[in-house]
């Protein structure tokens, strides 16, 4: 009798790794990279940055939220906190994100649309009314205008009596990835990096518990990068900020411990888990290579949540199930903070109901499924350990390639990374349309009579008028001479190459607007010109 020949379906992960039907100890040994698995809480932190992880402290739940005026957003914050959310992640509207005032002609139709409108310190104060900033950590999803918003947040906290020495929180403030995806850039690449450096330096010296930068692989992946590129580009960008900070004379242990990361979850479960385990130890070895002595400097602290890129317009309720799996991946990966895109995000900014379902999804995982009982529960799996090794090798490979071609800042400045991910996004979409990439409800198990019955987040037409009235009121009531002199001082600091943060804080205290502050910086730095070849 001849042995039966099995027809093995080939499986290749997005990252290009061939998957075998079974894995064993030999595969783990053959793929070893030199960095160990080790113990949780010990270098190189493959299994987690803390010894006890969720057993000591479960992940923070931090849904992205914000819309309309600061008062509308404050209501949603309280709604989420009352329902057990443990952190806030603030969405700003597009004018605020690119440094325009609500009454700028370019802002017409955009005020309060995709996040809350912030023109002055007065809005920042309204947004956090009644929120205990010691108990609820706040993440500001702000990049182009981050120096101004961090200054406003610090000024707001100070005004309310918080000590800046112990103030916690995070700003996204990863401008390099904005040139690849998300696109809220304002200034050219070089001064943009300089401004990130200003926040790192200022926080290290004055707000030491604040995390001034959250380096985002997330948006690069959403723009078309595969999981290996997501990690590689994020690490290269984090290294660019690190090199810049070191060149200013900061010590690696003064700031590396406050760098954090934001990653994307959709796609193959095991590939994502391996991506994070590999990323954790690779980042630890990179920071160690910079001469860091403090293990905390080597931690890959991260928010990792369900990415919008995996969700579908078709059969939108399926996205609730997808979100739950993404949350599961996130917990299995040992993230510190979790957020999920809500099921209706392909249509609208999340309704209250959709935001609550996302929050409950994470709470079910935390309280019913045993995900907080033991650290790195997939550690030791032959498959996961092999994949972890292979991901690490591939991430290093992509990093080396970019470095050999002149580095990430050059590659982004010339639009090379943008062109690469756009091309990959195109290939991915073609794969979905021709069915080689399966999406349930889209190209398999499609319903002929599509149900697009989604409730929309209501847009309040009066919000814009209210915001315009508020900024006009602030302008009328403020001390004009103080605004003028603070903006003049800011211009001098920017032109002289000084750290702009002290002058920016002075300007926001004087009630200078986001648009005025950005205008001053633009007059010194100029504006970014987008490369359009792809």
């Amino acid at each position: 009798m001849s042995p039966k020949k099995l027809d093995i379906r080939p499986v290749v992960l997005e990252s290009g790794i061939d998957v075998k039907p079974t894995y064993g100890p030999d595969d783990v040994a053959a793929s070893a990279t030199g960095l160990s698995v080790g113990e949780p809480g010990d270098y190189p932190f493959t299994r987690g940055i803390h010894r006890l992880m969720y057993r000591a402290r479960p992940w923070t739940m931090r849904q992205y939220s914000g819309f309309g005026t600061a008062a509308d957003t404050n209501q949603r914050f309280h709604y989420l906190i009352e329902r057990g959310q443990t952190g806030l992640n603030v969405a700003f509207d597009l004018p605020s994100q690119i440094g325009l005032d609500s009454d700028d002609p370019m802002a017409a139709g955009e005020v309060g649309r995709v996040g809350m409108a912030v023109d002055t310190l007065a809005d920042m104060e309204t947004a956090f009314e009644g929120v205990d900033l010691d108990k609820i950590t706040v993440s500001l999803t702000i990049n182009g205008s981050a120096t101004t918003m961090i200054a406003m947040y610090a000024a707001m906290a100070e005004k309310r009596g918080y000590d800046l020495q112990s103030l916690r929180g995070t700003a996204q403030n990863d401008i390099l990835k904005e040139f690849v995806g998300r696109s809220t850039w304002i200034f050219p690449v070089e001064p943009s990096v300089k401004l990130v450096g200003d926040t790192i330096e200022y926080c290290a010296q004055h707000i030491p518990k604040y995390s001034p930068v959250s380096v985002c692989g997330y948006h690069i992946r959403e723009s078309g990068a595969n999981p290996v590129q997501e990690m590689a580009y994020a690490f290269l960008i984090a290294k660019a900020y690190t090199d810049h900070s070191l060149a200013r004379g900061l010590d690696i242990d003064e700031f590396a411990g406050r760098l954090s990361f934001n990653f994307d979850i959709h796609g193959n479960l095991f590939e994502q888990v391996a991506k994070f385990r590999a990323g954790r130890r690779l980042w630890a070895s990179i920071v160690k290579g910079y001469g860091a002595k403090n293990p905390k400097s080597m931690w890959l602290r991260m928010i990792a949540g369900g990415g919008g890129g995996g969700l579908t317009i078709d059969q939108p309720e399926n996205n609730i199930a997808r979100g739950a799996y993404y949350a599961l991946i996130s917990a299995l990966s040992g993230t510190q903070t979790m957020a999920l895109c809500s099921y209706d995000e392909a249509y609208t900014i999340p309704t209250e109901k959709a935001a609550r379902i996302s929050l409950r999804t994470m709470q079910i995982l935390m309280h019913e499924m045993g995900l907080t009982d033991t650290v790195d529960p997939l550690g030791g799996s032959y498959y996961v350990e092999t994949l972890t090794n292979e991901m690490e090798t591939r991430i290093r490979g992509v990093m080396d390639e970019v470095d050999a071609a002149g580095g990430i800042v050059k590659a982004i400045g010339e639009g090379v990374i943008q062109a690469q991910v756009a091309r990959q996004a195109y290939e991915y979409e073609k794969g979905v349309f021709d069915g080689t990439i399966k999406k349930v409800g889209v190209n398999v198990f499609r319903e002929e009579e599509e149900d697009h019955d989604v409730s929309y987040h209501p847009v309040n037409a009066e919000d814009t008028a209210r915001q315009l009235a508020k900024v006009a009121g602030v302008r009328a009531a403020r001390d004009g001479a103080r605004v003028e002199s603070s903006l003049a001082a800011l211009k001098e600091a920017a032109a002289g190459g000084d750290n702009v943060m002290p002058a920016t804080i002075e300007a926001v205290r004087a009630m200078a607007t986001v648009g005025e502050i950005t205008g001053v910086l633009k007059s010194v730095y100029g504006a970014y010109q987008e490369p359009l070849a792809f």
């Binding site: 004018p95 994100q97 325009l100 195109y426 349309f433």
Partner: protein
């Protein structure tokens, strides 16, 4: 025999929305399908878009909008397109457009709405059918 020029498509991102994955993949798909594609880049005013459309003598004006601001933007576009005498051009809109807003956009003069997730073939087929 005259050589026929390739149909020319202007793809634009009006307003402040920075989501450009969709517009870039559609640009690549149309290019592969034989169209000449001009992409404006981000943060274009309706005035600038219509002015480029006139200057470049395009056959198609395509807008990609994912910020929810499609109605005010397209109201402005309608007036500018009329003023520039470009009412005979094919005008398409893509992005996160609620189903209920499609008829409103069509009333403003949009030829066809292609929401996020529309297969490339559908866009290419529509343009081939509706271009002279």
């Amino acid at each position: 025999m005259m050589t026929q020029r390739r149909p020319r498509v202007l793809l634009a991102k009006p307003g402040l929305d920075g989501h450009d994955r969709g517009v870039k993949v559609v640009a690549l798909a149309l290019r592969d399908a034989g169209f000449e594609v001009i992409y404006t880049g981000l943060r274009q005013s309706p005035e600038a878009i219509v002015s480029i459309a006139a200057q470049e003598a395009v056959d198609v004006i395509g807008l990609s909008i994912l910020s929810g601001s499609h109605l005010p933007i397209c109201e402005r576009m309608r007036d500018l397109i009329a003023d520039a005498g470009l009412g005979d051009k094919v005008w398409i809109v893509g992005g996160n457009i609620p189903y209920g807003d499609r008829p409103k956009l069509e009333e403003l003069g949009v030829s066809r709405v292609f929401p996020t997730g529309t297969p490339f073939d559908e866009i290419v087929g529509y343009l081939k059918e509706h271009l002279p």
